[in-house]
């Protein structure tokens, strides 16, 4: 090691910079050199498709001057004979923070009981939000840090695109080499890329504190940039928006984190007509079709999870099948994407130990990636992506002389990178001149030192760092200490095993294939010695067995234990002889058949005939109902609250959908088929709902109910005024119910004005005639405001409110505000004191979606009663029973049944409270919520009366496809057990084979309720 360091230091000290620095004064005498080198007799990989044997590479002044088999070496060139060696273009990493300052720690922002930070702490004419910093200029921030550059050079990298990994808009990137030179020659091109992410980085500002808030903020910033381009500067100077606009045509990179992020990032790009280059997370193979459809080029890490310690059968239960499968399949990610034709570059970022990089690329190659694809992903593709393929990526004439010299195939396990040349400057990583001494030698020491028939064994994968051994009489194994340096040999060995401290010391030199010299025995007697090669080293003997391809499990949709091997498909189904709860005039029909085809209910009647190809399900003794619709759900979401401001109408829950949440499946097992995924209740005006069907296996977009009306969450009461958030949270307006009213008044007044401005603008631009007549009055477009857009939609009756509410005073307040400003509250949810104001609700036209029997968990629910649903229903309010709870949602049939117990609601009406009524409240009743020909075939077959405590679904069907069946569930359990067992065996073997493993820890998914905020612990989560 020390030897190498020394060499390196020498190289740096003696060699001058490869490039002239004409603008700099010099301390000393000019030392300009020709910088002309010829590398001869090499195997040259010019680009991933072109390899030249026995070729010459000629470089001058840091550029490739010639490459080929017939290059004539000009006089004055330093010639390096690379017989038996290879030259590759050096590698390029596009996701680097090399040379960037360390991120400041994140502070404040309401984290851990600190006061909220509502405004940006960054002083200057910048964007209002600290996480939007497109003005960050990597070129200005960049500093050469040689130890970090060296780390990358050793892996074969020659240039990186670096940027500050801080914030959602992160500014531009700069392309730098990894040379240890003055920044002026290291920076190749500045400002050639633009960078984004979903992480707010060091910003301590509260907003955004959710993934949907991040998306909304970035979208708004992009709309603002557009507005600024047209009319902004007249109003304000904003360097952030200027920077966004300046970079609009540059390649834009988006750090998306994982497969969900890739899809989410691409969607943002689509909105603005931009195609992001997306840094993925290594799990993209799990959603390959959807990711291919984005058309995005990806940047992929080669970081893979470690195997788990699974020897203990009980402890192993804490490792999920998804984790085990990902361990197995992650190395196949690049190969599978390449196979699917998805273009990508590879990055060394994201590795816990960066030195694992090449070994992990090799794992990808062992798992399906071809070497040409790997090389492409590390050279030509990254160069093209940043439009720097005139400089980098291949060894074509005119490009930078950025290349590496290797002992052989770059991707082979025993490859050694000897040298990394950057802009024509040599960095020695290993001594390529060193002789390969590996082999078996007869070791003779004269006079004989008591032990006879000594053999010296020099072995190992790396001829640079061989392993040494000495055997005596072929049986006794001794471990000598050997140093070979510049053909000098020094060896110490205890020849008598019983006396390990009695060292015989031999010193000498290499003479062809013989080592010889003299030395001393432990007793000081002088001896002479020689080691003569008797058998050359054979690499194949120790080569790792890479030919054995292990079998790999299949994909699951979604990629969790309960996932489907194949996505469920709509079928033609005939359910026979069931008791059918139609929710229509026919009421509950006994011994009735229901035919399903093309995802719809085709027929309801007696003795229907099964069409050919139909699957018949015997419903004798069973009850067929509509699927349950949960009006208030927070499952399948990555985040619930963007609680950073009193209004966050701009956020969309559709940006936060987690289609892999096992609670989807659990709720299918409870007969739920659709849910309104609501924003939480942390602020007066929350985010836009996502209305979904629980189509387990589909991606997020596949869950959304097409054509559904837009909904939005409002909230009243303790959460909105942060009553239970601790003493630190006494800053945000409002802190009282008085303030809540003003939040609504203020926002809706502004929304009205906003809508008016747009209407005026649209009216004008839609009638060119009018514009012609009065050309001077041309209006410019108002600033697009995503928050006010949503509120204006409410005023225009295009978006509908679901309002979290408890206490009668505030319920009346909101209805009053709504009436006075001309909008309606579609639904009050929770509405635990709805029974006190049911008459007013009925008059206003608001529905009520309530808990069956919750109360006493906080002050504002002290008057909640289980008779609430009954009282509201009797006053003419459309009532539904909802969950707001991942567990309770799977028993909503039981919750509905409680309205029979409390208040004596008729069973048929009780059932509607979890089916037809929520469909009405969500404006879905035209095609959902009852069993009638033409409606969606969202059905549940229960083994018992559906309101009975003893009932459970045998089948849950959505759009005619069976998403859950009791028998299927049981089969899945068996299959899952087998797959787990296979992977556990494989992990145990991997551990035995020397792989590092990690202790199992069970990640318990956070179960969201509507008051939960990221960064704030839910009850019971602090140990």
């Amino acid at each position: 090691m020390r030897k190498h360091l020394l060499l390196l230091l020498l190289a740096v000290g003696l060699a001058q910079s490869g490039l002239a620095q004409t603008t700099f004064p010099r301390n000393g005498v000019y030392d300009e050199r020709p910088n002309l080198y010829a590398f001869t007799n090499a195997t040259i990989v010019v680009d991933p498709k072109t390899t030249l044997q026995n070729a010459t590479l000629l470089i001058r002044n840091g550029r490739v001057e010639a490459v080929g088999n017939t290059v004539s070496v000009p006089a004055g060139a330093v010639v390096m004979n690379l017989q038996g060696k290879r030259i590759y273009p050096s590698l390029i990493d596009l996701d680097s923070d090399y040379g960037m300052p360390d991120l400041p720690p994140r502070r404040g922002g309401g984290l851990f009981n600190t006061p909220p930070q509502l405004e940006s702490n960054k002083k200057g004419p910048y964007y209002w939000n600290q996480a939007i910093q497109p003005e960050a200029d990597a070129g200005l921030l960049f500093k050469v840090i040689n130890p970090k550059a060296e780390e990358l050079r050793k892996l074969g990298f020659g240039a990186v695109l670096t940027h500050a990994h801080d914030g959602i808009a992160r500014g531009n990137g700069t392309l730098v080499t990894l040379a240890d030179d003055r920044e002026n020659t290291v920076v190749l091109r500045n400002g050639l890329s633009q960078h984004f992410s979903f992480s707010k980085g060091s910003s301590g500002q509260n907003n955004p504190n959710s993934i949907m808030g991040v998306v909304a903020l970035l979208r708004q910033a992009m709309y603002d940039a557009d507005w600024y381009k047209k009319n902004g500067p007249a109003e304000q100077a904003n360097l952030s928006l200027e920077a966004l606009n300046r970079a609009a045509n540059l390649p834009a990179f988006f750090e998306a984190g994982d497969k969900f992020g890739v899809l989410r990032a691409d969607k943002i790009g689509d909105e603005f007509g931009r195609q992001f280059i997306i840094r993925g997370g290594g799990d993209e193979y799990q959603r390959i079709d959807e990711i291919k459809a984005t058309g995005a080029t990806l940047i992929l890490p080669v970081s893979y999870p470690q195997a788990y310690d699974v020897e203990d059968a009980w402890d192993a239960d804490n490792v999920s099948l998804a984790e085990m499968k990902h361990w197995e399949m992650a190395p196949a990610n690049p190969g599978m994407l390449a196979q699917a034709g998805i273009p990508f570059a590879l990055t060394s970022s994201g590795l816990k130990t960066r030195t694992d990089f090449m070994a992990n690329v090799r794992k990808a190659i062992e798992n399906g990636l071809t070497e040409a694809q790997a090389l492409e992903a590390l050279t030509t593709r990254p160069a093209q992506l940043i439009r720097a393929d005139d400089l980098l990526g291949t060894l074509a004439v005119g490009k930078l002389a950025n290349f590496i010299v290797t002992s052989g195939n770059l991707f082979a396990a025993d490859n050694v990178i000897y040298e990394n040349w950057i802009r024509g400057k040599q960095y020695i990583l290993a001594n390529r001149a060193i002789a390969d001494l590996r082999g078996t030698y007869d070791l003779n020491i004269t006079p004989q030192a008591g032990t006879s028939n000594l053999k010296l064994l020099i072995t190992g994968n790396n001829p640079d760092k061989p392993d040494f051994g000495v055997t005596a009489n072929d049986t006794i194994k001794l471990t000598p200490k050997v140093a070979i340096d510049n053909n000098l040999v020094s060896m110490q060995v205890a020849l008598d095993k019983k006396q390990p401290n009695a060292l015989t010391r031999l010193t000498g030199y290499r003479n062809g294939s013989t080592l010889q010299g003299d030395g001393q025995l432990p007793n000081g007697q002088t001896v002479t010695w020689s080691a003569t090669l008797s058998k050359p080293f054979s690499a194949s003997a120790t080569k790792a067995d890479t030919t054995k391809k292990s079998t790999m499990g299949g994909l699951l949709y979604p990629f969790v234990g309960m996932g489907n091997a194949k996505k469920p498909q709509p079928q033609t189904l005939l359910i026979r002889n069931a008791t059918v709860w139609t929710n229509e005039k026919d009421g509950i029909m006994t011994t009735t058949d229901v035919l399903v085809s093309n995802g719809k209910i085709a027929q309801v009647g007696k003795n229907l005939t099964a069409p050919t190809g139909a699957s018949v399900i015997d419903g004798t003794g069973k009850h067929l109902t509509n699927g349950i619709i949960d009006e208030h759900s927070h499952i399948a979401l990555f985040s619930i609250n963007e609680g950073s401001q009193s209004s966050t109408a701009e956020v969309r829950m559709s940006d936060a959908i987690n289609p892999d949440d096992v609670n989807i499946y659990r709720q299918l097992a409870g007969g739920v088929t659709s849910s309104q995924l609501l924003h939480g209740s942390a602020n007066a005006i929350g985010g836009q709902s996502a209305l979904v069907k629980l189509k387990w296996g589909e991606p997020a977009d596949g869950l959304l109910i097409k054509g559904a009306d837009g909904f939005i969450k409002f909230a009243l009461g303790e959460n909105v005024k942060q009553a239970n958030w601790g003493d630190a949270n006494r800053v945000r307006f409002p802190q009282t119910r008085m303030g809540v009213e003003q939040v609504y008044m203020d926002h809706f007044v502004r929304a009205k004005e906003y809508a008016k401005a747009w209407n005026a603008y649209n009216a004008q631009s839609n009638t060119p005639k009018a514009r012609g007549k009065n050309a001077t009055a041309t209006l410019t477009a108002p600033r697009r405001d995503l928050e006010l857009d949503a509120l204006a939609e409410i005023l225009a009756k295009k978006r509908f409110i679901t309002c979290h509410s408890y206490v009668q005073s505030e319920i009346n307040m909101l209805m009053h505000v709504a009436d006075s400003l001309g909008f309606k509250v579609n639904t009050f949810t929770h509405i635990l004191e709805g029974y006190k104001v049911a008459d007013k609700m009925a008059k206003h036209g608001a529905g009520g979606s309530t808990f069956s029997d919750w109360w006493a968990y906080k002050m504002e629910v002290k008057d909640a009663i289980p008779y609430n649903a009954a009282l509201m229903a009797r006053e003419g309010v459309t009532v539904s029973i909802n969950s707001d709870d991942a567990e309770m949602a799977r028993r909503l049939n039981q919750e509905a049944a409680k309205t029979v117990e409390y208040g004596g609601i008729a069973e048929e009406d009780a059932w509607k409270m979890v089916t037809l009524n929520p469909a009405k409240l969500l404006h879905l009743d035209s095609h959902m919520g009852s069993i009638r020909p033409g409606k969606d075939a969202d059905l549940v077959l229960w083994n018992n009366h559906p309101l009975s405590i003893y009932a459970r679904p045998d089948y849950t069907i959505i759009d005619g496809a069976i998403y859950y069946s009791q028998t299927g569930d049981e089969q899945n359990r068996v299959a899952m057990q087998a797959e787990r067992a296979r992977l556990i065996q494989k992990m145990i073997q991997a551990k035995a084979g020397g792989q590092t493993t990690t202790r199992p820890t069970a990640r318990r998914q956070r179960m969201w309720h509507c008051e939960d905020i990221e960064g704030v612990m839910a009850e019971g989560e602090n140990k």
């Binding site: 009980w314 239960d317 804490n318 999920s320 099948l321 969790v560 234990g561 309960m562 499946y665 659990r666 303790e718 239970n724 029974y835 006190k836 049911a838 008459d839 029997d853 919750w854 006493a856 968990y857 906080k858 002050m859 002290k862 008057d863 009663i865 008779y867 009282l871 009797r874 006053e875 991942a886 309770m888 799977r890 028993r891 039981q894 049944a897 029979v900 117990e901 409390y902 069973e907 018992n944 009975s948 405590i949 003893y950 009932a951 459970r952 569930d969 899952m976 787990r980 202790r999 820890t1001 069970a1002 990640r1003 318990r1004 998914q1005 956070r1006 179960m1007 990221e1014 960064g1015 989560e1021 140990k1023």
Partner: protein
Amino acid sequence: MKHILIVLLCLSLTSAWAQNPAPAGPQQKAIALLGGTIHTGTGQVITNGYITFDKGVITGVGEASAMNRNTGDVQVIDVTGRHVYPGLISPASLVGLQEIASVRATVDSREVGVLNPNVRSLIAYDSDSDVIPTIRNNGILITQAMPIGGTVSGSSSIMHTDGWNWQDAVLRKDDGIWLNWPGYYARDFDMETFQSVVKKNDKRDEAIRAVQLVFAEAKAYAEGTTPATTNLKFESMRGLFTGKQNLYVRADYAKDIIEAVRFAKAAGVPNVVIVGAEDVDKVTGFLKENSVPVILSPLHRLPNREDEPVDLPYRLPGILQKAGVMVGLSYSEEWWRTRNLPFLAGTAVGFGVSDREEALKMVTANTAKILGIDGQVGTLERGKQATLVVSKGDILDMRTNVIEQAFIQGRQLNLDDKHKRLYNKFKTKYGK
């Protein structure tokens, strides 16, 4: 039923009070419930039966035809078409100890400190809690008020859901000590992902050694002569070593369950009950061998692991029943949901418990046995206390769990509660 409603309606109209009803006075006169279906809690169902009780004690149960009608002044109540059950027992409960979750001033369940065996839930039991009448209305007549803090939380007591004060309401004082077993896995919180992480507890051995030492010292203290210095903590633990008190150990993970039981036996504690037991399906054989009963976490919870069968929590009672392990159901921490306890038993029937009467035992007879009150309550048998309810129908099903009459030690309860009062008040608003 109608009459009661009218009476209640009148009460709510005429009186301005918004207080829970007065506790019932002692049983004045013998009562016979005649003609209903009697679920005795022993597995027996008498479809047309009778039950008589006097001075708070059951004097006879049987077929209606077999009732002795010549025993003097008996108030006969016709319960034809109705169902009679033992009063349900809610173990491991916070009812009476907490009122409104988010209001700290109303929460008296978690004392500070690690070792508090001397802390008694008994005296904190608020017999005037608004929650109590609401649970009674679904058939729960007995609750076990348990402390939950620290490692040794304190002692529980078994309370009636009716009484002027805690002295009045108590059925069994200081029935057991509660121990939170130091877990093999500890729940931690990952600040980066905001996920709860369950990982190996590195401080566990230390914690267990501390518990072992305390129990060893307490035992020595209990066995020794009168100590020079009175130690209130050890005084409170005396009953553990004589079998007078149960040791309730909260443990969920299979390894913890085994170790907790082994610990209790080694510590010389004869009666140990495992509470929680969410992974109990792995150790049913062990529990059976050691005759250790289980009070399960509320069944209405999600599986703990992504890959666990979706209905595993619902199936645990059936699994334990089949294995021959004594099991009781609880509504532990969510006290205001305690009124749903009968529906946990109903759920268990849908998921593997052999029949409704077996499930009923899990909220009556079994629980009484586990808590050591089976001499007094838990079944409808001659000589036991007349603590029972009359339901419109199947008590385990929401649709028919409508409690029409309830008796604690023969005292007929006023079944009014805050929810009914508000219901009736607002019915009048709407003129109905």
